[in-house]
Structure formats: structure tokens, C-alpha cells
Subunit: 262 residues, 4 copies
């Protein structure tokens, strides 16, 4: 995931097709000697090999296409998936609130498609480590494949249940992204260093009090529930305004800290 | 900023005083053999030395206080400052959209109190580097002192103008937090690797089109404007609801990518 | 509540004290021959008698004060109250979604301080009628006094329980503002004209599914749940931006329509 | 617009087709002896004549359809239009902030398709009056036709420019919905009763300071800028959550009050 100049075969590239309405259309592609078809004509990817990042090219129909090294957020948005994945805006907030930094050891589960594991892998870096648990073997294999292709080498994939099978101790933070997050809280409490945070993503209102109350009972403190709304603005030559459409809801974000039990 | 067990003298600690209304009250303190006064009685900080993180103690009036290792977000919220500083929710979003990761070299300015530099320092880690520019010597000294106390060793402080004095090249991302951000765009373009992002924080509506149009002219592509709203939820024994008060606005966040010039 | 020129003794007036920060300060006063004290000096209200609306005067300290005929929203914001009252932004939305218009007959309860009854009274006008139910005699008396002072003559106050005592039939809409709104749904169904709406205000997340599911079972259709967020913007000579603080939550608003039972 | 039982030929009816995803689909129809085609089969509208409001019927494919008397909000959402029209959430807020009530005389322009005029017509009732100005004859004719069909008899349509041609005086409120609203402020000031409000809808950020500063110069006070966000919630048998998609922006809403000039 480090991009060297110039563009090489097998690099991941973000193609950006600008549109008059509705914002740009983004495609995440693997640079190979083949055509990539957009709804506005195709791009010959082989032509990009040897070019510099930040170049612009044209589709066969003559529309301008930007060629960019993808950011982690762009990779996550295009993650090969079988289920709903966490949004970059939510992951970003949780990385901050759960205080993830280079060198950290982090436990995470369920793995799902691996998008959150990828974000954690990037944030802890080569000196850190991510251990991810998933009970469904097919998901685990998909996630493993996804992360290998992205060059993530600091992630350990474990077939197991994050609510019962976690063996790690003294970890820096603990991420929960399963349907019954309250069942993973005792795992989290055991695995975490004292005072350190768990973080969970939940989609529904009903889950908020259930998770918060379970966290209190489990011995977590400073429990907070957040929801992140991302408003985009459109700027054209004549005027600026908030985008007409926005994402109304993705997930509620819950964090808390391991307290010593009396 | 790595917390070893147990609590040592001179450690930074977050004291959390739970309240019936309005959420918990947080204090960031340096652990020394002295009293710390809250509005609900004092805590004898010396008593914490040797205790474990995640312990709870009591104020002289008998109110419960949690003792936690502060997260980066909590440190930023309590940053010693002379001016308004960036909020963790905004920094978190920009770290993600500007794709900051361990090992990166990042340029930033104005330094201000150093809160953003601190967040960048944490995100790039020991193998990365942050260069921060500030034209006001007093701010630069304050920021330097703030970051030294936090143990940040990968930040280089430069007395200079980010709109004209930047000498770095091939940097991974470029953060702009000054009153006239459009004037720093040519610096950003020169300093950045091709295809890589600049990120800016601006408080006012008028600055949005001014910055976006200047960025287009300077040769940036995939320019986006975001605003992050953080809704908190209160959960008590009986009910869950969004907090009655919320932060209505902090900053508009603008990112864009360096394109090759024709 | 119709303001004749000029200002007369006993008129309600809105005094607006402009401030450099935090928006203007508003006071709702009864014009009498007495002094009114603000935090920036006093205003001699007697001096306003005979003046025109829209005039400006000065406090004893020399600060400018606007003198305005209060709108319904401003009256509601300053309603004499013993409990939390509905916000104008929420009332406005419900008046629209519940389709209240001049001439309508509307049932409402609990009366509380009468703020919602006042808004309904205004919206249905002299040719309409509002019947409001309240089980607490003290609230009912307070509300009656509040509305008499405001000149509302089309409101009927009933000491009784909106969940069981409603005798009206063929009403145009039915407003529920009590702690257990689901218990008022069968009253609503019996009282309403076919196809017509009920509207309820609820503060907590837990109440949403409870009310919605009860409404479905009771025979209501087209049930919707809304929440209205009001962002204010500050404009000074130099710049425009969303206000730093906003109301994060007041109430969830639920509406539905009476369907024929099979 | 008063619905008498039972459903009569030529009545306006709202057909609601419930869907598993994305909320119900609503159709506004005129009840005639003809078929109405939905994407899930047709409804024989003639069969509804003589039925009661609040009944449910089935499409030819067997899907359930609710038959409801449309509210003003539903009529507005389906307004025959040639341009963007104001949203009910915004109209509702402005009716409240501009203090519109039965019996009021209100000036409005540009008429556009007449949606706002319709809402004002409903709010002022038979004892009130709405005067609407439009410079484009085709719009004026369309609006006239739209409002006649809705039975609005208290609206006066004037071919003219709201920035220069308004002759009314002592009006209760003044609504501005044109591209250059600042040019209508002197009209508004002349037409309004002292202390009474103007209300304007503007789509773009750039228009906010332009309109606010012009209003200050024109002699308006207590100028406020609002934006109304409407969050909807989805409730199914299992869970409650904010809708995945929401309207991100419609208009900024500006109100102010006529002050006496010195």
C-alpha cells in the first residue's frame, strides 16, 4: 500500500470520472493490460503503466478521468463484501475515540469482509498487530484474501467466536462489530489493559441501552454513545450548498473503558 | 504516551467525575504529590501513585472519580491553548480522508497550540515525521512545550510561513489550518507527492467556495467539502435519547488531491 | 392577539436586546407603567404606551432594545410553565403533518401548561375549536389562565384523562402529549374522522417502537416518525457560519392516519 | 378541501402502497371512473366512489393500498410543477416563524407553481387573503389552475414583479421565494405592518450574508437564519433506526421584522 512512482502493473488505482451532477463517480481498479468499462466509455488500463500518479486520461468517449493512488477510505468504500461494512466516517471516529496508534495490539471481531481489520491494520502499522475473530469460515477466507491483496501483513485471522474464544491479554483496544455486541463485553474486559477502550458499532436504537447497560454491569466506565453525520457540500462556479442527499444513518458508535472491578 | 502499569509520578491522568446531569466532568491532570480541586471536593493525586489505571477513587466530598490513561482525543480536548483548536471529531475525519498512516511524512501549519500536530504525530508514529510551520514565535514555543510534555519526538517545529516557506518535497499529506488557507495551496501542491491529499479546516461559509475554487485553479482534483456532526446519546436506567445540547458547528473540512499539471 | 397600532397598556410585547455574542436576548413583557430589568439596565415600559410597534428604545445603560409584537412562536418559547413544553419547531411540523387548518375541531392532551393548545387555537382560528384534556387540576388551571391572558377563546378545557374520557367524535386531528401515548390511541381512533391524523410527541428512543407498534395494532396506517433539527446560522459583518451550539434533541414526532377496521 | 364522507367523484385521494423497503409509495389521484396504474398493478378508481375514507383496497396484483384524504403536506409534495418547490418541512417552519394565522393578509412571490401560495391560503383561511406576484405569465396561469382545482378561493394572482409592483399595505407577513430575494426587501418593508415579519427561502450559502446584510440595511431587525433537517425513522417488527437516506438540503430560511426607521 505504499505507492512508488510511476504506476506499476498490479497497483490498485482509483479512477475518478467527473460528472455534472451527483458528484464524481469513483472506480477502484487493479492496473492490468485490459480495458475497464465505465458508463461513459472504457479506459485502457495498460496505458497507465509507467505514467505518474495524479495524471488524467480520457475514456473512449472522451470524458476526463483522474488516476489516483487510493486512500484507505476509498479502499474501504469499495471493499469486496458479502455484508454491510463499516463506513470510513465511523471507523475514523472510532480509531480516534478508541485511541488506536502505531504499535498497538488490537482485537477485533467479527471479521466480516475485513474492512475494519484493514483500517486497524493501517493505523497500528508494521510495529503493531491486529487479531481478528470470525465464526464463519467463508467470511474469514474472503477477508484474508482481501487483506492479502492489500498487502496487510500485521493481521492474524482466527476462526472463532469473539464472545468466547479470545485468548489475547493486555491489548490496547477491542473492537466489536457483531449482531449481539453485549455478549462480547466480558471477552473485551478480560483482554483489555486496565483503563483502555472497547468500541462497538450497532445499527439499531434498541441496541443502545442494551449494550450500554451491559457494559456498565461488566465493569466499564466513561461509556459514550455517538452518531456521526457527514454533510457534504457542493460547490460549482456559481454557488455553494449542502448536497441535496445525504446518508441518514449508518451506525451508532459506543465506546467505554475498562475499570478495575471492586 | 505509553502507559505502563502502575500509575507513576508525572504521568498524565484523566479524572472523570460522574454527574447526574450533563454528562461526566473530565479533568486532565499531571500526577504529582498535590491536591487537585474539583467543584465536588479535592483528590489527593499522590495517592494515585502506584495504583492501577482504571481504578476509582473518591473526592474529599465522597464523589466517585474514575482514573484513566487519557486517549489522544481527551488530551486534545484539554490542550493548553491560546486560540480555538481543532476538535477530535474533525481531526479523526481528516486523518482518514487524508490517509495518514504510520511512517508518513506530513507537513502542517499554522501550528497554533499544536493540537493537530500532536494528533498527526501520533498517527505517523516513530517511523514517521511531522513538520509544522508557524509564523508566531510565541505559539511555536507553546506548541513545542505542549508536545514535549506529551513525549512527541517526531515533530519538527519551524518558525515560518506555510504559504511561502515550505521546503519539504514528496510529502504524504499536507494539513492547512490558517485563516487564509487558499494562500497555502501552492505550497501544498509543490510539497505533495503526486495524487496525494491536502486537508484544510475552515470555520466560515464564505471560505468554502474561495478555497475550493483556488484549489481547482492550483491543480487539485477530487476536491470534497465535509462537515462532521457528532450526536451524543444519553442512556439512563429508564431511557435513551439524543443529548439535549450538541455542538452545532466547528469547521468545514476540505480535502483534495494533487493532480499533474498539463 | 391582534396588535393594533399604537402600543397599548396591557399589550404583550417582545423586547429584544442585541448582544455581541450568543444571539439576541428576548424578553416577553406585559406593557405596564413599570420598570423592566434586564441584565443590561432597565426599560421603562410605560414609555412604550402610544409608541409604534417596531420602534427601538434604550435601556438605562444605553443598550438598544427592539420592541416587537410577539409571534406565536415567541409566546410559546416564553410560556409560563411547570414542565417541559413542546418547541415551536416541533409544533410547526406537526401542525403541517397533522393538517390543521382554520375551522378544524381538534382534541389534545395532556394540556400541561397549554403551549400546544395555544398553537392549535391559533391555527384553527375563531371558526375552529380545540378541546384539551388534563388529569391534573393544577395544570388545567394554569393553562386556562395562560390562554385567557392570550385571548384564546376557542379552547375548551376538560379535567379528564385523554386515554379514557374523550367524548368528541368526528374530529379533524388528535394530538397526544403524555408520558404513555400508546394508551391514548384507542381514544384517538374513536374520536377521529376516517383517514384523519393523530400526532404525538415523545422524548425517548424506547417509546418509538412501542408507540408505532401500538398504532399499527389500533388500526392506524401511514405511520411516520420524524425528528426535526433546527440549525441556526450566525452572520456578522465578516462571515457566516452555523451557530456553535444547537439544540440536539427535543422530541420524536409520530403521526398516523385512522384506517377503517376490517 | 373539506372531505365529506363518503368518497365522491372528483375528490382528490392519496393512495398509499406499502412496500417492504424504502417506505410507502404515495400517489395523489383525482377519483374518476378510470384505472390508475402503479408499479404493482392498477387500482380501479371508480370502485372508490361511495366508499369511506380510510378504507383499504387492493391493486390488480393483490397489493394492499390505503385510501386517504390528502393532507396539505401531501398535496404540496405532489404539486404539479415546472420548477423546484418549497418543501412542507420548510413551509411549516416559516408559517410558524412568520406567525401566519387565520384572517391574515399575506403577500407572496414569486408564485411559481403555487405550492407556497396554497399553504398560505390554507393557513389564513376564508377570513384571510393571500396576494401572490409572479412575473412569468405561464407560471401564474399554472398556479391559478393548480389552486382552483384545490378549491382555494382566497388567493389573488397578480402578474407583476414582487421587487417593484407590490401595492398592498399593512400586511401581516411577506414571503419571498425568488432568485434575488434582497431585491424584494424594500417592497416587503413598505408592505408590512410595523414589527411584522418577512420570510424568505434561499438555496445557497452565498445568498445568506447577502440577504441578511441587505435586510439589516433595509431596516429589519431580529433577523434569523435557519435550516430544517428532517430525520425519519424506520420501525419494523424487530428494530428501530434512522432512515438510511435523508434529504441533505432544501433551503435556508431567513426571517426578520420590520423596524421603524429612525
Amino acid at each position: 500500500m505504499r505507492w512508488e512512482l510511476p504506476i506499476k502493473e498490479e497497483d490498485l488505482a482509483l479512477l475518478v470520472l467527473e460528472r455534472r451532477r451527483g458528484g464524481p463517480k469513483k472506480y477502484l481498479v487493479r492496473v492490468r493490460r485490459e480495458r475497464f468499462h465505465t458508463h461513459r466509455g472504457f479506459v485502457d488500463l495498460g496505458d497507465l503503466i509507467g505514467a505518474e500518479w495524479g495524471t488524467s486520461t480520457k475514456t473512449s468517449r472522451g470524458d476526463r478521468v483522474l488516476v489516483l493512488p487510493p486512500t484507505a477510505a476509498e479502499v474501504i468504500e469499495k471493499f469486496p463484501r458479502k455484508t454491510q461494512i463499516a463506513y470510513p466516517k465511523d471507523i475514523a471516529f472510532l480509531l480516534m475515540r478508541a485511541d488506536v496508534k502505531p504499535g498497538d495490539v488490537v482485537v477485533e471481531g467479527g471479521t466480516g469482509s475485513g474492512a475494519l481489520a484493514f483500517a486497524l491494520s493501517r493505523a497500528v502499522g508494521g510495529s503493531g498487530r491486529v487479531v481478528t475473530y470470525e465464526i464463519d469460515d467463508r467470511f474469514l477466507k474472503l477477508a484474508k484474501k482481501n487483506l492479502e491483496r492489500l498487502g496487510a501483513t500485521n493481521v492474524e485471522f482466527k476462526l472463532g467466536d469473539i464472545t468466547s474464544d479470545v485468548v489475547e491479554e493486555e491489548v490496547d483496544s477491542f473492537f466489536i462489530d457483531i449482531g449481539d455486541p453485549w455478549n462480547a463485553l466480558s471477552s473485551a474486559w478480560r483482554a483489555l489493559k486496565p483503563g483502555r477502550p472497547f468500541a462497538a458499532l450497532i445499527p439499531s436504537c434498541e441496541q443502545i441501552p442494551k449494550l450500554v447497560n451491559a457494559a456498565r454491569e461488566e465493569g466499564f466506565g466513561l461509556i459514550e454513545v455517538h452518531e456521526i453525520l457527514d454533510r457534504e457540500y457542493d460547490v460549482d462556479e456559481r454557488r455553494t450548498r449542502p448536497s441535496a442527499r445525504m446518508i441518514g444513518h449508518t451506525a451508532f458508535l459506543v465506546v467505554g473503558r475498562k475499570m478495575l472491578r471492586d
